[in-house]
């Protein structure tokens, strides 16, 4: 199944009414293989528990290099939990327990010898709500390189590179010393992306990065994701199916299955495929119901 197929992430089947990014990105035509040939990260038999609560059941996924993978599904389906497993942010939740393997370049990041802090320098994360630090714009960017002890020749240059990378430089270059709290919500979120890329990660996780932004700011961040795809591997959780259809190369659909005895809802992966197929021609009935709006 490794023969390449031409995939249009933008021009999906017109019978499914989803947005199109083709007018925004002329280069939205991408040719990607059916399965990631050289996955950067993979999950094998991933189970997550919060105390006794089984949050995620047996997820197997592989994330391709320089691709955008979207995790979609109804609330409580465990997609954010899966995302947080990828850079061990779940370690910070009291009572959380992870079973199975998550590999980064073949190394299980849940192995005993692995330092979660080192994992996070390779796998960065952008959060749902923009969370700039109460510092200047410059210091927000410089914070990451400083705490991880990056050898930096010129911090000013690194800050500029990061801000240019997040398409924010022109808007903030004259106010680098001002508080990041003076920026708009969309600018703050791009600042958070700039802050993440300043530490030069390999993978960027985004947990509903646009859910608190207005449509214009959302489209800026989406443009940015597509630009960043050339240099980074991006995994995004989104509630917005149009967003998944617009920006992602592959989509994983999760759903929640209530436990028969306790009623607790355990998240599981239903279907994982090229975004064009998920939206145009899903295999599973549950996927079809969800993306056509009959459920969730």
């Amino acid at each position: 199944m490794t023969h390449p197929t031409t995939v249009s992430t933008a021009k999906a089947d017109p019978s499914v009414s989803i947005g199109s990014l083709a007018d925004v990105h002329g280069d939205a035509e991408r040719t990607i293989p059916d399965v990631p040939p050289d996955p950067v990260m993979e999950a094998f038999g991933l189970n997550v528990f919060y105390g006794d609560f089984h949050a995620v059941h047996d997820v197997n996924l592989s994330f391709g290099r320089n691709e955008i993978t979207a995790l979609i599904g109804p609330s409580g389906c465990g997609k954010s939990t899966v995302l947080r497993c990828l850079n061990r942010m779940n370690d910070l939740v009291p009572g959380a327990r992870v079973e199975g393997q998550v590999t980064y370049h073949g190394q299980n990041i849940y192995a005993k010898a692995v330092d979660p802090i080192a994992v996070r320098t390779h796998v960065g994360m952008v959060f749902q709500k923009p969370n700039p630090f109460p510092k200047s714009i410059h210091d927000n960017i410089a914070y990451g390189p400083r705490v991880i002890g990056m050898k930096v020749e010129s911090m000013d240059q690194l800050v500029e590179e990061a801000l240019r990378g997040a398409a924010l430089w022109d808007e903030v270059k004259d106010k680098l010393k001002q508080s990041a709290y003076g920026l708009s919500g969309g600018q703050q979120q791009r600042l958070c992306i700039a802050r993440t890329i300043a530490t030069k990660p390999d993978v960027i996780l985004m947990d509903e990065p646009c859910s608190s932004l207005d449509p214009i700011a959302t489209s800026r961040v989406e443009d940015l994701m597509v630009e960043l795809r050339d240099d980074y591997t991006i995994i995004i959780v989104t509630h917005n199916m149009q967003q998944a259809a617009r920006v992602s190369d592959r989509t994983a659909f999760f759903t929640a299955r209530p436990d028969e005895t306790t009623g607790n809802r355990t998240g599981l992966l239903v279907e994982y495929d090229l975004t064009s197929r998920i939206f145009a021609n899903p295999v599973d009935k549950r996927t079809e119901d969800y993306i056509s709006g009959r459920f969730g």
Binding site: N87, M89, L92, P94, G95, I117, A118, R120, T121, G124, M125, F127, K129, N131, P132, F133, P134, Y143, G144, V147, I148, C192, R195, T196, T199
Partner: protein, 303 residues
Amino acid sequence: MSIATRTAREVTASTIATGRSRDKTPGSLLFLGALWFSLFFGVMVLVVLIVSTALEGASRFDSNLITEYGSILRPEETGFRAGILGTLWLMLTTAALAIPLGIAAAIYLEEFADPLTWYNRFIEVNIQNLAAVPSIVYGLLAVAALAVVGFNETGVVIGGAVALALLILPVIIITTRESLRAVPREIRFGSLALGATIWQTTWRQTLPSAVPGIATGTILGLSRAIGEAAPLLIIGIAGSVLFDPDGLVSPVTALPIQIYDLTSRSQEAFQQAASAAIIVLLAMILSLNALAIFIRNKFQKTW
């Protein structure tokens, strides 16, 4: 205008332009009056106390009050120099002991401790309880603690400071934890996701953001300690000290102790001096509280 429109207007006029507000019925006005009375009562008692004390001590608001030592022979010239300086010494030493310990304990509980383990929950419950323990018990505790380490000088600065530090430690821990908790989790996650350690996150993000709250809580704790007499009596601090304290093991007195000492004497002049000293003590407490309010308003962060 159609009949329907006209009818709608007339009905509306009679339902919303009633000429009275239901927020101003006799019942609600009575309730408002009761609230005002409660407020008035509390404030009035305080004002009466302060004014009557100030009037009684009015004749003693002179420079002798703060520059002279206590005198039994000349009660009309007795002063509180030793008490004021002693209180300052005690406060500084108490702050030096209690602030680092309190902040460190709060940081451990809030940032590092696993809230699910039984011993952390046990500590948590007990800190809440400690804040309600009577102050005299802390005096006894300090005596015991100093005796255990073999320190048996009574009535010295370090003894009083240990008692007062124990007294305000729970207050500092609780307020510091609250201000740490007020720093959004998103800030911590943002820092940790960049590859910062918990220690770096605490030191560079959480703690600086929490400083205004910590400062406010600490100062309010100190202003509680400044008025305490009971634990200082237990630790052996006497009212009749006739020299300036000059070190941690120097015998010392404090304003509340001196006030307590003078009010038990019969001469009118001593009563007046005690009243004047109460006003001095109140001024010290109020200026500490004012400082706390200033810090809170000036540096408070809104997220």
